[in-house]
Amino acid sequence: MATVIIPTPLRKFTGNTARLNTTAANVQGVVNELAQSFPELKKQLLDEAGRIRAFVNIFVGNDDIRNLQQENTVVKEDSIVSIVPAIAGGAPEISTI
């Protein structure tokens, strides 16, 4: 089964689980599985129209799915799918420039 790695900032939505197994055949399937299993995570990953948010990068292996087949990128049995959100720092409130 393929592995999905949840980044530390999003682990609170997966009950602190860092790695999940998936049988989904492509990235869209992985995202759907995650959204279904963890409704709170869904809001982080998908916008209102159901598209993957622009500040969330998904890599299959070492490659950005934007350079592969986007959501249709194939996930193989030994694939590692990584979710990498934008992070900016640890300020308690958004500081302004």
Binding site: P9, A54, N67
Partner: protein
Amino acid sequence: MSLEHIHFSKEELARYDRHIIIPGFGFEGQKKLKASKVLVVGSGGLGSPVLLYLAAAGVGTIGIVDFDVVDDSNLQRQVLFGVNEVGELKATAARNRLQSLNPHIQINIYTTQLTSKNALDIIKDYDVVADGTDNFPTRYLVNDACVMLDKPNVYASIFQFEGQASVFNFKDEQGKVGPNYRDLFPTPPPPGLVPSCAEGGVLGVLPGILGSIQALEVIKVITGVGETLSGRLFIFDALSFETRTFTISRSADNPLNGDHPTIKELIDYEQFCGMKTVEKPIKEITAKDLYNWQVTGEDFQLIDVREPHEYEIVNISAELIPLATISSNADKIARDKKVVVHCKMGGRSAKAIRELEENFGFDNLYNLKGGILGYIDEIKPELTKY
């Protein structure tokens, strides 16, 4: 870069000996460091190790941008400062510390916020920028300014237990420019979503690790030794101690240097990051409640802010005051009873209500949820929809 004018004193030669004796780095590498000018934006968690190592390593000119003062809560990770510096400007305290660490280098400080107005002017005099800021608006500002000025931007970012690093906008020996921050993250997270939510925090050692990687990449960019992180994103998970390095590339959609650039000058980055769109909620009324008011004879005023031609297509007997004329007709709007404002779908009427509340102090206005189309759907399906 001509290095002929670069010379070292006896003290400097002793100091940099461990660099000079590395095969492949040598005297030339050290000369390149001395000739270089590096701007470090932010002298906090990331900036501390970046500045300490770059100063120690002998980068000839270091600029520090920071408007903030040292706070007790900084000392857990900002290793440039001690208790004696609490309350001092960070840039000033950093300069003092670095100058005592290495008196052979030049340090310039900018005790100001980096803004769209001053960023190009400050950055233009430097060869490399190291971004150690802690918020999205400044990250995009630094990125955009570096792309516009053709400067490499050595990036590191941290949040709680997660770290990221890369080298953006780096021109290789063939003159090919690598990806930048906007290729990786086209837009920032909307406020309220992780990781830009109010809960933050960062493990103190983490910026030490990522900042050291950043300093390493700065040195590689300057000296040309090794392969930089350009075109790659390094991530570090301090909890599981896993590191991964992903391949990233330029996007044709990049608004700065993609196929059809749309950003030609620095923009309002707070607005871009959605920080100015937090609007006060306005009162709403549903179509059903409006209908109840109508049939029970409730005393209220109904205003339609659409255009006359839309009113002609369909209306629910409201007084027509198009949005553009709402302020000049404010005296026609009742203050002694409830007022329902509607448009086609609810957007323009919300704008009208905000305008009237802000400029004329109304507090009795209700926006019809879903506009006239919602009303038709729920109450009067026989009316014309458009």
